[in-house]
């Protein structure tokens, strides 16, 4: 399979008043077409910063990357045409109606007015937003808003979809619906999905492969079971223990703590 994302030593240092902050120190990774990649790491590990670089929002201070064959540095327009992005904070204006946001998004992707209207209806149907089209986005529930954010990011049928903590704040039912949606995108359209999450059960259930970052570098990379075997001690280890062992944020020796009786 051809890599659809590849990054080499991708880095970003922020200059702040209190000196430089090395948010991302050097990320090397490859994502294959049609893969669902779980990008994990503790708070502040550099996940959002990496996503913002891969989506052209933030210029890297080091390293290179290509997305869908387009180089970040030399062809940002190509990258923008091929990827969709849902930020941690979402991205709709509360005072604007759902339909208007969807149509504007279509127009930003250079659809004609008629095409944009039709695409808005289509996306609303696919993401179960049809009854909400005439509501202001501020009146949507958290789950409905997430679906709208994703609909916006799918406007141009991107090859790669970047989702930053898409299920944070959702109830279990809405999370399960979102998982189905993400799997559906991959199965039906071959979309590559690059997502971050702090829910390890979600990463386990949804991802084909995990990349774990800590302090701005990749510290582990593999399928959930391979990582469990390697770092958690056995294939039956919980991803929680595996994660803690990898990031060194707690004890996870397999046979350490005796169970209290």
């Amino acid at each position: 399979m051809a890599p659809v994302i590849s990054a080499a030593s991708l880095a970003r240092t922020f200059q702040t008043k209190r000196g430089p902050v090395q948010a991302v120190r050097g990320i090397d990774l490859t994502v294959h077409e049609g893969e669902i990649l779980g990008f994990l790491g503790p708070n502040g590990a550099g996940k959002t910063t990496t996503l913002r670089m891969l989506t052209t929002l933030l210029a890297p201070t080091g390293g290179t990357a290509t997305v869908a064959g387009h180089d970040l540095a030399t062809d940002p327009a190509g990258v923008r045409r091929s990827c969709g992005y849902v930020a941690q904070s979402g991205g709709v204006d509360g005072q604007i109606g759902v339909r208007e946001e969807l149509v504007t998004q279509g127009r930003l992707y250079r659809l004609t007015r008629t095409q944009a209207l039709a695409r808005a209806e289509e996306l609303a149907r696919d993401l179960d937003l049809t009854d909400l089209l005439d509501r202001r986005t501020a009146t949507l529930s958290g789950g409905q808003r997430r679906r709208l954010d994703i609909a916006m990011a799918l406007t141009h049928r991107p090859k790669v979809l970047f989702l930053d903590e898409p299920t944070t704040g959702l109830d279990p039912g809405s999370r399960a619906d979102l998982w189905d949606l993400i799997r559906g995108l991959r199965d039906e359209h071959g979309t590559t999905v690059f997502l971050t999450t702090h829910y390890l059960d979600e990463a386990d259930a949804l991802s084909d492969r995990l990349v774990i970052v800590d302090k701005g570098v990749v510290v582990a990379d593999g399928t959930p079971s391979a990582l469990k075997l390697r770092y958690g001690g056995s294939i039956d280890a919980s991803l929680q223990d595996t994660f803690l062992a990898i990031t060194g944020r707690g004890p996870a020796p397999v046979d350490a703590a005796p169970v209290a009786v």
Partner: protein, 249 residues
């Protein structure tokens, strides 16, 4: 592409302005209060200009409207950044320049609309000025809003909270207003103040509009006013575009 994108962004923000009628008129409050309660004080004073005191005051109030209105325009973008709207637009192929131009052209529309209302109120108070001069005045309001709006949006893209933004703007607007002779002509000022006021770009704008309001169009004031207004616009839009292109710290 650029035109189409600019029209799209312009439409989005113009609809936003039309949704909140209060915001559409709010900027008028301060100049209108000056017109009603300060203007009448000047009618009998020897101000040294040609024409009536209204022909001196109204050009100043028009530029005050643009100065305060456009300088604070960036507030909106700080809120939008928090909602993620700015980044959502910046991942699309939309022209970066259009993201700026659509907004500042919306601002120019809103402030010229307010300027029209202000002039109508001034006519009711006793202003008489040639139509050509009044139209030139609106053109200056438009250029001033485009330039100050661009700078305001550029600053707003750079800071992360309103608390970092407001003090800078406050520190700029009040001295600008006082030092440009917007309220009373600088010809009344002692020499040092008159000299100092020439450092302020707005001084040239208000002198030009005052000439226009008494029907003198081919003057040195007008030439300098046009050059300064256009120069300011070019510089501000260039700065704004650079920031919008690279923003994302």
């Amino acid at each position: 592409m650029l035109l189409q994108d600019t029209a799209l962004i312009y439409g989005r923000y113009l609809r936003q302005s039309l949704r909140s009628r209060a915001a559409l008129l709010f900027g008028l409050l301060m100049p209108l209060l000056y017109l009603l309660f300060f203007g009448p004080l000047l009618t009998g004073l020897p101000l040294g200009g040609r024409g009536s005191s209204w022909q001196l005051l109204v050009p100043g109030l028009l530029l005050q409207l643009g100065l305060f209105g456009a300088s604070f325009a960036g507030f909106a973008i700080i809120i939008e950044k928090g909602q993620g709207v700015v980044e959502r637009m910046r991942v699309t192929p939309v022209s970066r320049l259009a993201l700026l131009l659509g907004r500042v052209l919306r601002d120019a529309t809103v402030f010229v609309f307010q300027a029209v209302l202000l002039v109508l109120a001034a006519v009711a108070m006793g202003l008489r000025a040639p139509l050509g001069g009044v139209l030139i005045g609106f053109a200056f309001v438009a250029l001033l809003t485009v330039s100050l709006g661009s700078l305001s949006y550029a600053l707003a893209m750079k800071v992360s909270t309103p608390q970092q933004f407001a003090p800078v703007i406050n520190a700029m607007t009040m001295p600008s207003m006082l030092l440009s002779g917007l309220m009373l002509p600088m010809s009344l000022a002692p020499a040092w103040l008159d000299v100092l006021s020439h450092v302020m770009p707005f001084r040239y704008l208000v002198d030009a509009v005052r000439d226009a309001y008494v029907g003198s169009y081919a003057t040195a004031h007008m030439l300098y006013g046009v050059l300064v207004a256009l120069g300011l616009t070019v510089i501000a839009v260039t700065v704004g575009t650079r920031v919008f292109r690279t923003a994302g710290a």
